[in-house]
């Protein structure tokens, strides 16, 4: 079946892209100037110590061999050993943080998608009113703001200067149940939500307007269906479809968005771990995290493409 074949090809392409991305990650962290051993030991290290560490890190072997070994280890779930602090296995360093970040992204998605779709559809219904105009300006302004600016404004408003209702720092206690620490999630989730919201609002506003002008909506109205039912059964489902790809792309953006937002709130996830690893030049952790983030990003974008193909009849049947 050509459709299945096409989708399979896209998935394979995704894996190929990711493979080359892993080569790029490895090259950047190995081939570029800057000696990892010297970076770890500092400028005053003796040549003997440097030589020992280089051997320990396997830096004396050819690059291709090292890359193959690295990829082999990854496929077994071994991400190497962190160079910083207690030299724990990378999997141990990032395991919990991976879960925390996953939680953060899922929460942000669950809040932002329905909220922004609702706002988008509502402003479309109220098209060309004052409310719509205000919302348009608000989303345009919000979409211009970098996420850390949104986060800092929220901290100023809600946890330091104006109100003091939320903690400005989200340092989760890993030994206590997260349900009791829900207040720590609010500001990071809010920041990510406000960052992805404007685009989805605009998408849904545009698609709803298009649907509302269609003949089947006029038909439903002429039939005498009550307006809420027209909205629920006819406009909303049809308006959501063209917005799915853009929405999924915004969720993929979260893979990068968490880096700054987690750092800002000291949230213990992989985003803040990446920032720490870059400051410490902790190469094994940098490699693992950038690969994980790239994989998430690639596959969420891929999912967006595939969903679009599946739900668009023209593409579904038009596939040769």
């Amino acid at each position: 079946m050509p459709l299945a074949k096409h989708i399979l090809w896209r998935v394979i392409l995704g894996f190929i892209t990711l493979f080359f991305a892993s080569v790029l990650i490895f090259m950047m962290t190995n081939l570029l100037p800057g000696d990892p051993a010297r970076a770890i030991l500092g400028p005053r290290a003796t040549p003997e110590k440097l030589a020992i560490l280089r051997e320990e890190l396997g830096l004396d072997r050819p690059v291709a061999v090292r890359y193959a070994a690295w990829l082999g280890d990854i496929s077994h779930g071994d991400l190497g050993t962190s160079l910083a602090g207690m030299q724990q296995p990378v999997t141990k360093v990032i395991g919990r943080r991976l879960y925390n970040s996953f939680l953060l992204v899922v929460l942000a998605a669950f809040v932002s998608v329905p909220l922004s779709m609702g706002i988008g559809a509502y402003t479309a219904l109220k098209r060309d009113t004052k409310l719509d105009a205000t919302a348009t300006i608000a989303t345009l302004t919000l979409s211009a703001l970098p996420e850390f600016v949104i986060g800092i404004v929220l901290i100023l408003l809600l946890s330091t200067q104006v109100l003091h209702i939320l903690p400005p720092i989200s340092r989760l206690d890993p030994f206590a149940p997260y349900l009791g620490q829900l207040d720590l999630f609010i500001l990071p989730v809010m920041t990510l939500t406000l960052a992805v919201l404007p685009y989805i609002v605009r998408l849904l506003r545009a698609s709803t307007i298009e649907v509302l002008e269609s003949e089947y909506i006029s038909m439903a109205r002429l039939k005498g269906l009550p307006e809420p039912l027209v909205m629920r059964r006819h406009s909303l489902p049809n308006a959501v479809v063209p917005a799915i790809q853009g929405t999924a792309m915004q969720l993929a953006w979260l893979a990068g968005g968490i880096v700054v937002v987690e750092y800002l709130f000291a949230y213990p996830g992989i985003g803040s771990a990446l920032v720490d690893a870059v400051s410490n030049r902790d190469y094994p952790v940098i490699q693992a995290l950038s690969l994980i983030l790239a994989a998430t990003y690639v596959f969420l974008n891929l999912a967006a493409d595939i969903l679009t193909i599946l739900i668009t009849p023209r593409l579904r049947t038009g596939m040769r």
Binding site: L13, F20, A144, L264
Partner: protein, 309 residues
Amino acid sequence: MSTPMENSVDLLPEGPEIPHVTASRRHRREWVQTAKAAWALRRTKIGVGLFLVILAIALFGPLIAPYGPTEFVGKPYRMPSATAWLGTDNLGRDVLTRVLNGGRTVFSLSLTATAVGMAMGILLGMFAGYSRRSVDDFTMRALDIVMAFPHIVFVLLIVAALGPRPWLIALAVAIGHAPRVARVARGATLEIVGRDFILASEMLGTAKWRIMVTELFPNITSPMFVEFGLRLAYSIGTIAALSFLGFGLQPPAADWGLMINENRIGVAVQPYSVFVPVVMIALLTIAVSLIADGLARAIIGIDRRTGTE
């Protein structure tokens, strides 16, 4: 982030009514038209006004600053007073002085990053769009590798390898932009390559690179200006974010992003040292986005008037 402009590009009022006009002259008229239509929108005026105000602060701020950017004028985290109008920062330096000094790097780095990224992206995109199918596919697949990383992760990877240096940050942000710009440039190119005037040039035996420079490029400038605006807003945010993460400008430099990072621990005691640089960055990105939005709307408007589909 993706742009809403990717497939709304059809600007050339082609047809027999303007014979013997070179592409560039025809384009110039169209570009003036776009700018005029954009200027008619209130959002463009507000955007340009805001942009000029902040640019003026960045350019002339250092000349009117009351103190030196690294001069200690009092105890750390003091609230505004007659001697320090916006208070002092984490080390007791004058916040107002550092705000006035902290804009030049923001402008120079983000403009450089955007210009370089646009140049690379346009070249790659036109090349891909005007090449044989196989070359096109190969180029775009290769660019997908850079696109596999969220922009900020890609920049962090380069910083991790080469260390935090301002020019490197600008270059890394530029490389991150390039494939995204290339996609838009390629899309715009593909819409034009089949047109008669391109085919005519080809039949006259004009070299491909010359067609790219004299025929293709002038006809994709309008969408590229919109793209430049969107990319610039994004560059400002990313470069400020990198300074905020500690990988951009290094202390004791005065830079809006760095100021936010240095002073955020004291935000409960002295909010101005964080709030003012945040507002500067926010207003700048808003200004640039407003201009880009005005241009984008102007292009769509022109489309409607000339009746092209």
